[in-house]
């Protein structure tokens, strides 16, 4: 009755994650954000905006149309995707690491009915929310430049959510794996920066060597850029569908990884 025998199998078994408990952790993050957003919103939001102004207006003067549209219209959707990626990534790397290792926030949460998996999922959902806030704000700021040309733009929130969720799961996986905060820099320089270059934000990938194009196909940001461009500017539901499918499949595949990694890391 009251006794239970622990054996190796019961320990490795991963308990089911609970969405309602993950939501409670999401609410914790949202409450903190209400107090800190004035400080944290700025940094990651302005960088893509500077790209839009400098490249779009500056470089755009010297470029003819790219793929039949103005250069600033070409780069704007990619920068929306980039903003969403930054939003989700910042939350799931530096912030998550700090909460887990320094502030004891994870420890406090799992002293309550929350399980480690709930915390990981709540963290990912919150990062998704931030991706949506950042990406949405960017769309609103960029709109006066005339970059939104399609009614398919109404689906942008769903696209941002999908992009945010994928980068949240990937970012958390890396964060829950590394032992020291310094290693998080490698995630940026070895993973995010190449994607930033080769995901078709600033130029179409069609003229690059075939092997680069193949490599780029495996980069999540490339499909995120394609999705945003198809919805916001080109109005091509077929392209959007294909990109969304790629992102959705990879998101589902990556989903269990951070949950398992967090348990492996923190369950002593």
């Amino acid at each position: 009755m009251s006794a239970t025998t622990a054996d190796a199998r019961t320990i490795v078994r991963v308990p089911r994650v609970s969405l309602s408990h993950a939501w409670r952790y999401w609410l914790r993050n949202a409450t903190i954000f209400k107090h800190t957003y004035r400080l944290s919103l700025l940094a990651w939001f302005f960088e893509p905006l500077f790209y839009l102004i400098a490249m779009g207006l500056g470089l755009g003067r010297y470029l003819p149309q790219v793929q039949g549209i103005k250069y600033i219209d070409f780069i704007a959707p990619g920068l929306v995707a980039l903003t969403a990626m930054y939003g989700a990534t910042f939350e799931t790397t530096w912030n998550a690491f700090f909460k887990m290792e320094r502030a004891g926030i994870y420890g406090a949460a799992v002293s309550t009915p929350l399980a480690l998996e709930d915390v990981a999922l709540g963290e990912a959902l919150w990062a998704t929310t931030r991706a949506m806030i950042y990406g949405g704000a960017f769309i609103i700021v960029a709109a006066p430049f005339g970059v939104i040309n399609s009614w398919w733009s109404v689906l942008a929130p769903f696209a941002l959510a999908l992009i945010g969720l994928l980068f949240a799961f990937v970012g958390l996986s890396f964060t829950y794996l590394v032992k020291k905060v310094d290693f998080l820099s490698y995630y940026w320089t070895l993973f995010l920066t190449p994607m930033f270059m080769f995901s078709g934000i600033f130029f179409p990938l069609g003229k690059l060597p075939g092997w680069v194009q193949t490599l780029a196909w495996f980069m999540p940001l490339r499909h995120a850029v394609e999705l945003m461009r198809a919805l916001l500017v080109n109005g091509e539901p077929g392209d959007a569908m294909r990109a969304a499918l790629w992102l959705a499949v990879v998101t589902v595949a990556v989903f269990p990884v951070p949950l398992r990694l967090l348990r492996r890391r923190l369950q002593s």
Partner: protein, 310 residues
């Protein structure tokens, strides 16, 4: 006591990390509505045991039930009925005292209209009501500890787990925490705590275990342990001069046990007056000799040794 199911029951409870056994098959029963203490030097396995009880570290073998429920299968249920006061402050630094309590209440699924008055109630209980809108960084160490206790009470737990509840606090703050814990026990909360302070254990615990190297050495009430494992009284001498050492050594035969430390001699005896009388005949500064009762600290040191554990 018999017949009570026990708030926490462990049988042959073991925790291994790879090949290292942190807890080596311990048995204990913490009775409901009592205070049960874990004492021991660093590395004794106290904190590991507490982690297993609070369902954050699964046992490697043996059985462990909390509130009659098995820890592995019923972790969520158990955690919902338990409060945990950690050793390290893990409050949300970005928000106020009150909001810390409300965030934590939400983890338990407590509705806001219930959480709000309960938070005020708990703040009053730990005497922090006038700090409700303060930032965490503005609180002293003692206030943070009291807030951690208030937070752990937000779900009105049946069991409260405390890992070194007063380490690092000044005497005023420590006595306030003790008073609050005794109030909780009277209200029917089962307390489980670890401590390094023998006085704390003697003040609070109905029963306690002394652990060392993953095993339980002894179990009992503080009074029982003092009676069983040390003498009724102790005569201490501070730096006795060289020339009386041989005379002191001759007294050794009439006492239970002698300990010679770098700066002190200790005579463990059941007749302190007789021993003291013998010592007083020697040419020793009377101010450097004193008689005291046997304490839990004597029990602890005789069982776990005086060597420093790091």
């Amino acid at each position: 006591m018999d017949g009570s199911p026990g708030a926490v029951v462990a049988r042959a409870l073991t925790k291994r990390y790879g090949r290292f056994e942190a807890v080596r098959g311990i048995d204990f029963t913490a009775v409901e509505r009592s205070c049960f203490g874990f004492l021991g030097p660093n590395g004794a396995g106290k904190t590991t045991t507490m982690k297993m009880i609070s369902c954050t570290s699964p046992p490697s073998s043996g059985t462990l039930s909390v509130l009659g429920l098995p820890v592995l299968e019923q972790a969520r249920t158990i955690k919902g009925r338990m409060g945990v006061v950690p050793q390290e402050n893990n409050l949300d630094e970005e928000v106020s005292v009150l909001e810390n309590l409300l965030i934590y209440a939400r983890y338990f699924g407590i509705r806001k209209d219930v959480a709000r008055p309960r938070a005020e109630e708990q703040l009053a209980f730990v005497q922090l009501e006038d700090k409700r809108d303060r930032q965490i960084t503005q609180l002293s160490g003692g206030m943070k500890r009291r807030l951690l206790i208030a937070r752990a009470l937000m779900n009105e737990p049946e069991i409260l787990i405390l890992d070194e509840p007063t380490t690092g606090l000044d005497p005023q703050a420590r006595h306030l925490v003790w008073e609050k814990l005794r109030t909780l026990k009277r209200a029917g909360v089962t307390l489980l705590l670890t401590t390094h302070y023998m006085e704390e254990a003697a003040q609070l615990c109905d029963r306690l275990v002394i652990m060392d190297e993953g095993r339980i050495l002894v179990e009992g009430s503080p009074r029982e342990l003092v009676a069983a494992h040390t003498t009724r009284q102790v005569v201490e001498m501070f730096e006795p001069p060289e020339e009386v050492h041989s005379a002191l050594a001759s007294i050794e035969g009439s006492v239970k046990r002698v300990e010679r430390l770098a700066d002190r001699w200790l005579f463990y005896t059941d007749d302190g007056d007789e021993t003291l009388g013998k010592v007083r005949t020697l040419p020793i500064d009377p101010g450097s000799v004193w008689l005291r009762g046997g304490t839990l600290e004597d029990v602890f040191l005789s069982l776990t040794g005086r060597s420093l554990i790091e």
